[in-house]
């Protein structure tokens, strides 16, 4: 069968859909793509013939990879803003948490010992670990600067993940 279709991304591509259906039913063994324009690329990749999608000249995973790298590199510039926002969020969380009901972060006001839902959720999101020692509030691999600077009791004594050096 031969399929030729030109259309915008919004238009319904009947010939293209027919080709995909034929391929899924394994009624054809191979598809020869002689011209693949940009707009058709993603759909063409998803046409499965004999278990393997047709890969266009510009692979969608490569596009996504390049996009990922660009986004990640851009994060280096946003670091200071993100750090500040993270610190603010954590302070709010401590101050307004149902468990403690504190109006502001106050060192030494946490219940001594025991894990709480609050600390568990913080541990899960930040990688820090709650200490059961009354003289140690938190331990963390990548310190949370706002809390570190305000809590004299905070000492780095342990890390949650062994791959992270405790001196970090």
């Amino acid at each position: 069968m031969q399929v030729r279709e030109v259309g915008s991304g919004a238009a319904k591509r009947e010939a293209h859909e027919g080709l995909r259906g034929t391929a899924r039913r394994r009624e054809i063994d191979q598809v020869l793509v002689w011209r693949l324009e940009f707009g058709l690329r993603r759909h063409a990749i998803m046409v499965a013939v004999a278990g393997w999608p047709i890969c266009g000249p510009m692979d969608i995973t490569e596009d996504l990879r390049q996009d990922l790298l660009a986004r990640w590199k851009a994060l280096f510039d946003r670091m200071s803003l993100l750090a500040e926002a993270a610190g603010r969020g954590l302070r709010t969380l401590y101050a307004t948490g149902d468990r403690f009901g504190l109006k502001a972060y106050t060192p030494g006001k946490f219940p001594a010992g025991g894990r709480t839902s609050m600390t568990r959720s913080l541990g899960a999101t930040t990688g820090c670990t709650y200490s059961t020692r009354p003289d140690v509030l938190f331990t963390w691999p990548c310190a949370i600067p706002s809390i570190k600077s305000t809590g004299k009791e905070c000492t780095r004594t342990a890390v949650r993940k062994p791959s992270i050096p405790s001196s970090a």
Binding site: I45, A48, P53, T61, L64, R65, R71, W72, C142, A168
Partner: protein, 297 residues
């Protein structure tokens, strides 16, 4: 940091000490359905060695140019009838060549996702997701131990060795992988060995490789479940139970030495517990004393 939009959700994690974004995840949506997944993770949680003093640009360049400093996962999904039918994945991870895979999704009659299988372009198939069954974790662990032990015994019986086996190491790597390798050590190897770290002492060409996919979907479900409850010890018990079965079967076999022991270990975290592990895997007091005298313990 989490960020949500109508067409995407992002997670960003950064290391305050090094100022490096240690992990970035993005899920893109199309009409409320997942369209693609992107993830980049920096090793050592954003604090890899030897990057101090570099500019951010150089740090990024160095991280991306070294395959041991980063991991990348990309997935693009093909949606049909409101659910993912297939996908296309790209993976870069330390120790394995970058590879592209096709993801095949299968659903139960009531529409529940049952299994995702990745077919790699380099060859090989791997079940990356298996739906949770009603089997208890204990039962699942026991079944897997028996099946893995059976396959190891079969492989050892088929292989030919120049002298009887003294030890077989089953290295595994929790929490990522509870499926062990098989490293056989003969009497001849043992005579020139300084310690019991067989993954270093024995040429990888002589390792016996089992096919993990033969144990799917059980092994995938098992790993997912213990990862969910964060009990890597359950995984360790499963592998060591398999090792103990191999030890017990091997004693008295023509291919095994008198004090034959098979043991499962993750040297990175369990190396200090070697004696206890050997005991758990069926080594008796006499064997342990003998090996201590040889300097193996």
């Amino acid at each position: 940091m989490y960020a949500y939009g109508s067409a995407e959700a992002e997670y960003t994690e950064f290391c305050i000490t090094t100022q490096i974004p240690s992990e970035y995840i993005r899920l893109a949506l199309s009409d409320g359905q997942p369209a693609s997944f992107q993830r980049l993770r920096v090793q050592c949680r954003g604090a890899p060695p030897d990057l101090r003093g570099m500019s951010p640009g150089l740090q990024a360049e160095r991280i991306l140019s070294d395959p041991y400093l980063h991991e990348i996962e990309i997935e693009a999904y093909d949606l049909q009838d409101g659910r993912v039918q297939s996908g296309w994945a790209w993976t870069e991870a330390p120790g394995i060549p970058p590879q592209r895979s096709m993801l095949a999704y299968s659903y139960s009659d009531d529409g529940k996702l049952q299994r995702i299988v990745a077919n790699s372009e380099l060859g090989g198939t791997r079940t990356v997701f298996a739906a949770r069954t009603k089997t208890s974790l204990k039962q699942l662990s026991s079944t897997l131990s028996q099946r893995i032990a059976g396959r190891i015994i079969e492989a050892l019986q088929k292989a030919s060795f120049d002298s009887p086996l003294v030890v077989v190491e089953l290295p595994y790597h929790p929490p990522d992988n509870y499926f062990p390798g098989v490293v056989p050590c003969t009497q001849a190897d043992a005579d020139r060995m300084a310690d019991l770290c067989l993954v270093v002492a024995v040429d990888p060409k002589r390792w016996i490789e089992l096919v993990e996919e033969d144990f799917a979907p059980d092994i995938t479900e098992f790993a997912d479940r213990i990862d969910y409850i964060e009990q890597s010890q359950t995984g360790a018990k499963m592998v060591r139970q398999a090792a103990r079965m191999v030890t017990e079967f091997g004693r008295g076999q023509p291919w095994a030495a008198e004090n034959f022991v098979a043991f499962a270990i993750d040297w990175e975290f369990e190396g200090g517990d070697l004696a206890e592990i050997l005991k758990e895997c069926g080594a008796d007091g006499k064997t342990l004393r003998e090996w201590k005298q040889r300097g193996w313990l």
